[in-house]
Assembly symmetry: C2
């Protein structure tokens, strides 16, 4: 295997990092340039060696009983880790998280619904846009950046004829993790269909689909599943499956009825990203071996706590009081957030996650999902310390 | 890297094949089983070592100028190899070829069109289904299995007010390669918008988009691009871009207007299969270094000719007189096609491509795309010879 490490700066910090990571963190940009980066973005994240080894294999032909068996096991493990009903089903879509958000809105909601949508950032806005696109009657619960949802906010919608509730349990753009127990209680007492985007939260924050009465949970391969991007996953409760069967949608590729029918034999209607599905299988089995979903969430929580403690002395202000374990969103007090992202990238070989739009200069995010360790946190914090010392943080 | 080769049979043929291919052809089904397979399916196909090495790398963060530059180069090389207009554009969809077929029908055709659709197999039928789904007025030109289109068939549609023509230039399910020059002339004299699914034909058969006056060409990462499945590609003529800009579609994920706007800066609206896009880049650059699209087509044609010569003595009947270079579709005279597929898979470690539906027992296909050589053809033909000798072919 060809490994060329290019040092973008002579900084001693990078030298240390490169020595430690030389094998697992080399990244090819094109055929000639390989860069060694430490990745704290919220996707794609860093993958374990075993997952990357599968990426080096030939991709097998997939209309076989062998591949079907792997897919059935993927479905079973996803159900187990989401704590879904025994009769739940799982659909694997070759596409981004947005493909699964759209498939869910399109296949599960109709013009006869009356939907509440929590909108606290770009991904909440995406659900609002999808409701508008598909003419789903809806009311928006507009949140301030990083704001937690409260009982008072929800109470005004009690007994108002709502039929469904849409929420990004972790609004990835701001880092806020909404109080899903509160939302669950509200939905139960109003008998609402509960559709949850847990794209960046699954395996990072606790989520018990059956206990919460959630009907849909969406995630993506490049988040805490720590595989390359290309697959999104939808876990469907029996009530969700009924809705799909009743509904006729005008889309071939995102038709969930078709996906469910093919899934019965461990297949997909069209050629899926076979390689990524095998990587997901490897990762799910690894989580199972290491103690299951509880142990994985605990590992992520510890990593997040470790990072938040290590930056307590720095001029970085958390933008939410109720963060997900998946990410810490920070407002730097003394410099542009985007400049800090660029300096870390170009001078330190570290990616943090920039924000777009209005928050480009005021907020960056540090992810805690993927193959990261407390030592990686220390590397990033040491870089922050250096920037702070020279007045750039 | 962990390499375990499992011999599914003790056949001397397999021993030889395994010795030759032990490094490049090991395939992981799960964490414990690795199988060494020679892959003649029409996707996923076998990838070159350089492409697979990228699969072993960490996937980089992609909202960067570095990734944008790679994507711009992908667009440029795709245009060059498709011989598209300088003002053409290329969209990369994270999804199967069907996602791009649907995006094309949805974004480029409207209820004001009157469309001719060639239907000679499963993929022709898919275009018909899409026209029905989106209420696009259309007339079906129904073809017999493997039948070539003729001037007489087309003449009856001259001057009948048609506005667009839809064809799978290579109908992958039967192997027929339609006479695209004939279709092009018909479209030019009737001023038809020409939309071509070249999913399994691009880089295998000649295709000069500008000369043919084709407006859309679709392909997929797992065909002759010889990368893992997960990305499909749409090349759009200036006339196609105009149609997209004029049209409003009710789909977020497959919205080509949005894809074109993001593509201007080398980005995609949603997280793409970044790893596969880097692999496509590697492959396109490799083709460029090896003499460009003409040399790649020539290599594939030679491989197909070599195979067709080597099986001339066997009871295998070609089902079309005008085959694509990408695949040879064969009707075995003495045994079920599906049984032959299964024997080759389970006893010889070789995948050929089974057919579904009505053709399950009568037709199998042998692909000539991907990292295959004349020696691989000989391995397959030796297996056919053995089966023939024992009365199973």
């Amino acid at each position: 295997m060809r490994i060329v490490v290019i040092f973008l700066c002579k900084d001693s910090l990078i030298q240390r990092q490169s020595e430690k990571k030389a094998v697992t963190l080399h990244i090819i940009y094109d055929n000639n340039t390989v860069m060694n980066m430490l990745n704290f973005t919220v996707g794609p994240v860093m993958s374990a060696d075993a997952v990357r080894e599968i990426g080096a294999e030939q991709v097998p032909y997939f209309r076989t009983s062998e591949f079907s068996a792997t897919m059935k096991e993927n479905e079973q493990l996803m159900k187990e880790f989401a704590k879904a009903d025994d009769d739940a089903r799982v659909v694997f879509i070759t596409g981004s998280g947005t493909a699964s958000m759209e498939a869910s809105v399109m296949n599960l909601l109709t013009a006869d619904d009356k939907v509440l949508v929590v909108n606290g950032g770009s991904f909440g806005q995406r659900f609002v846009d999808l409701c508008e696109l598909y003419a789903i009657p809806h009311t928006v619960i507009k949140m301030e950046t990083g704001q937690q949802i409260t009982a008072e906010m929800l109470e005004q919608y009690d007994n108002q004829g709502y039929t469904a509730f849409l929420v990004n349990v972790h609004e990835t753009s701001t880092g806020v993790h909404y109080d899903i127990d509160l939302i669950s209680k509200f939905c139960r007492r109003n008998n609402l269909f509960l559709l949850v985007d847990a794209i960046s939260s699954f395996l990072a924050d606790e989520f018990d689909m059956k206990q919460l009465g959630a009907d849909v949970m969406i995630t993506g391969s490049q988040k805490a599943l720590a595989c390359p991007p290309g697959i999104s996953v939808i876990v469907l409760s029996p009530r969700a499956i009924e809705r799909i069967e009743r509904n006729d949608v005008r889309c071939m590729y995102l038709n969930l009825k078709d996906a469910l029918r093919n899934g019965e034999r461990g297949q997909t209607p069209y050629t899926p990203a076979v390689g990524i599905l095998l990587q997901i299988h490897c990762r799910l089995k690894e989580i199972e071996r290491n103690g299951g979903v509880a142990a994985e969430i605990e590992r992520t929580r510890n990593l997040a706590m470790d990072f938040r403690q290590k930056i307590a002395h720095l001029p970085l202000e958390p933008i939410t009081q109720s963060p997900s374990n998946a990410v810490t969103s920070l407002h730097p007090l003394n410099n542009s957030a985007f400049s800090i992202f660029e300096m870390l990238k170009d001078e330190y070989g570290i990616w943090i996650c920039p924000n777009g739009g209005d928050m480009r200069d005021t907020v960056f995010r540090v992810g805690h999902i993927g193959a990261l360790t407390p030592a990686d946190n220390s590397t990033l914090v040491a870089a922050f310390d250096e920037l702070h010392k020279i007045g750039k943080l």
